[in-house]
């Protein structure tokens, strides 16, 4: 008669089981940690390009010339207005920089084309974009000061870093690398 082969089961030692469980937990922990870090914690910079209309400005070709006093004067007012709006908003921590890139004069208005730079965790990118738009819309609706702006003319879109650099480098006298302040 055949005697069934009885296999005697060798169980792993307890310490090895503990080690395997610990190893698996460690790998899981590191993976989740990295995912949380890159998606929820680490800030990524986002470039935006926008435009809006400034109303009640008589047509003047000089607004188009980047070194004209008219262009510099209006650009500076708008840049200050934008910076103040974001510095006093709820997303002031995300705001890094903004500049007026070009001014396009039309009949009784000027369209300002602007560049904005923000930082935000990847996971809140869309929410940040909505909040940027709402801050700008509110700023344009606020008619304090000498400028009248049209909030409904606001356009905002995200652009790549390369496109942002191309836009800025096409303008004269700007620098990607800021040096220390100099006496004026």
């Amino acid at each position: 008669m055949y005697r069934p082969v009885t296999t005697s089961r060798t169980s792993l030692p307890l310490w090895m089981i503990a080690l395997i469980v610990f190893g698996v937990l460690a790998i899981l922990g590191v993976t989740i940690g990295l995912l949380v870090h890159f998606l929820a914690v680490e800030n990524t910079t986002y470039n935006y390009r926008g435009s809006f209309k400034v109303l009640n400005i008589p047509y003047n070709r000089n607004y188009e010339r980047e070194t004209s006093p008219e262009n510099n004067y209006l650009s500076e007012i708008l840049e200050t207005k934008i910076a103040d709006a974001f510095h006093s908003s709820s997303i002031y921590r995300q705001y890094i920089n903004s500049q007026v890139i070009t001014l396009v004069p039309e009949n009784n208005s000027v369209t300002a084309h602007i560049w904005l730079l923000f930082k935000a965790p990847r996971s809140t990118k869309e929410n940040t974009r909505r909040r940027i738009e709402s801050v700008l819309h509110q700023m344009l609706s606020n008619h304090s000061g000498s400028l009248t702006t049209d909030p409904n003319s606001l356009r905002l879109m995200e652009i790549s870093k390369a496109d942002a650099e191309k836009i800025i480098n096409s303008r004269c006298g700007r620098r990607a690398r800021m040096s220390a302040t100099y006496d004026r």
Partner: protein, 232 residues
């Protein structure tokens, strides 16, 4: 530059080195995709464009980017050996691709005024001192615009400085442009931190000497001339 410090990469993206037969000779400033402005005396004795190249980047060699010269336009009234109308335009054979580290400086309006005492910056690969050594890295030095009357005082340049020129540096000396900086930019940051070309390094007595500040071509005085030659 005497009394300056190393420039960072991309800090002065309009700064160019004008080389003659491969050797740094002068500075120059990029004002558009193909035009640069420099000093007329940089082309003393040799005005053949084929002898010159223009390079960009903080190191003179190896150059970060190099271009060939198609045409040299020297001011009609410039006389070799004299200081007036010391300005020239360089036309490159090809367009410069603007990058973070290479792009143009703004030209001021002819009517723009830069007041004495304003802070400006001179940059270049010129000697650290008169007849001294030359740097590997681009140098920068903050200086002040000096009133022309002060600059023309008897102990200074005694009337040599004309209205088409501009003095910058310090009457006490120490910080100044030097040999090899000629043709390079003297720039000013406006309240939006946008930089304008105020002067072109032109002449002086030695470098950083007391009562002998640097004398520059006053760019606003030649703004219309530049426009007539370049369309900018």
């Amino acid at each position: 530059v005497k009394g300056g410090s190393n420039a960072l990469e991309g800090e002065w993206p309009w700064q160019a080195s004008l080389k003659k037969n491969g050797q740094h000779r002068c500075g120059a400033s990029l004002i558009s995709e193909r035009y640069l402005v420099t000093a007329a005396h940089c082309f003393r004795m040799a005005q053949n464009p084929k002898n010159y190249t223009v390079s960009f980047g903080t190191k003179v060699s190896p150059p970060y980017m190099q271009h060939y010269v198609q045409q040299i336009i020297i001011h009609e009234d410039y006389i070799q050996g004299e200081h007036h109308d010391d300005i020239a335009i360089i036309l490159l054979t090809e367009k410069v691709i603007f990058k973070n580290d290479v792009h143009r400086v703004c030209l001021p309006e002819a009517t723009q005024i830069f007041l004495p005492g304003e802070g400006v910056v001179v940059t270049g690969w010129g000697a650290f001192s008169y007849n001294g050594k030359y740097p590997v890295l681009l140098q920068k030095a903050p200086v002040k615009i000096i009133d022309t009357n002060t600059c023309n005082s008897r102990e200074a340049y005694d009337g040599l400085v004309q209205d088409t020129m501009l003095c910058a540096g310090y009457m006490e000396g120490n910080i100044d442009a030097c040999q090899g900086d000629s043709g390079g930019p003297l720039v000013y940051p406006n309240s939006r931190n946008i930089w304008y070309l105020v002067g072109i390094v032109s002449w002086g007595v030695e470098c950083g000497k007391v009562n002998k500040p640097g004398v520059y071509v006053r760019v606003t005085a030649y703004r219309n001339w530049i426009a007539s030659k370049t369309g900018i």
